[in-house]
């Protein structure tokens, strides 16, 4: 059984349902002892910014901000797609805990030894 798990999220306020469920599944993975990566790309890179997730809460789910914070506190890592980040002119000095801006090679490296990946 692979000891790594990746969740790829491509949505933020354009689909808060997908963004939320992505982090719920990521928390299930990190809570199950997996080395867990959330890859934020396309619109989801906005979730890497402090304050952006404030006020987002899907019915029946914890607030998105809390899900992201719990993920980082449990040891989860977030990779933020560099070109998506730059395209949106986001602030590298305003990243949430656990997030870092990376290029595609870092994602490829993480997945290359057989990590499963689920996408939202």
């Amino acid at each position: 059984m692979a000891n790594k798990f990746c969740v790829s999220i491509t949505h933020a306020k354009d689909n808060t349902d997908k963004a939320t469920v992505g982090f719920v599944v990521a928390n299930a993975a990190v809570g199950s002892g997996k080395e867990t990566l959330v890859f934020l790309s396309v619109e989801a890179v906005r979730l890497s910014q402090k304050g952006f997730a404030d006020g987002i809460q899907e019915e029946g789910f914890a607030p998105l901000k809390e899900l992201i914070e719990n993920f980082a506190k449990a040891g989860g890592t977030m990779y933020v797609c560099s070109p998506c980040f730059k395209k949106r002119k986001l602030d590298e000095n305003n990243l949430v805990a656990g997030a870092s801006v990376v290029g595609g090679a870092k994602l490829v490296e993480f997945l290359s030894d057989g990590s499963p990946c689920v996408s939202y």
Binding site: V24, N27, A29, V30, G31, S32, G33, L67, N70, A74
Partner: protein, 79 residues
């Protein structure tokens, strides 16, 4: 019936489910000493499938399962 067995720690997770449930479960297990037993109450409809899977992945021992109650023994050593 056999969930009457002694537990060192009790946790009523209420309606917590999916990632919220197992993340909190992991943190509570980490706070316990190796070999201690947790009596968990989890009402989420996914819990009867998730709790045994979580135990298989993490190495903790599911001593008993009588949904919504589960007895879990913490593994000897955290890895």
């Amino acid at each position: 019936m056999s969930t009457e067995r002694m537990a060192d720690v009790e946790w009523n997770a209420g309606d917590l489910g999916c990632g919220d449930l197992v993340l909190q479960l992991m943190l509570r297990m980490k706070a316990m000493a190796p070999g201690q037993v947790l009596r968990l109450t989890a009402l989420d409809p996914g819990a009867p499938a998730d709790i045994p899977a979580w135990c298989r992945m993490t190495g903790h021992t599911l001593l008993e399962e009588h949904p919504p109650t589960y007895l879990i023994r913490r593994k000897p050593k955290e890895t």
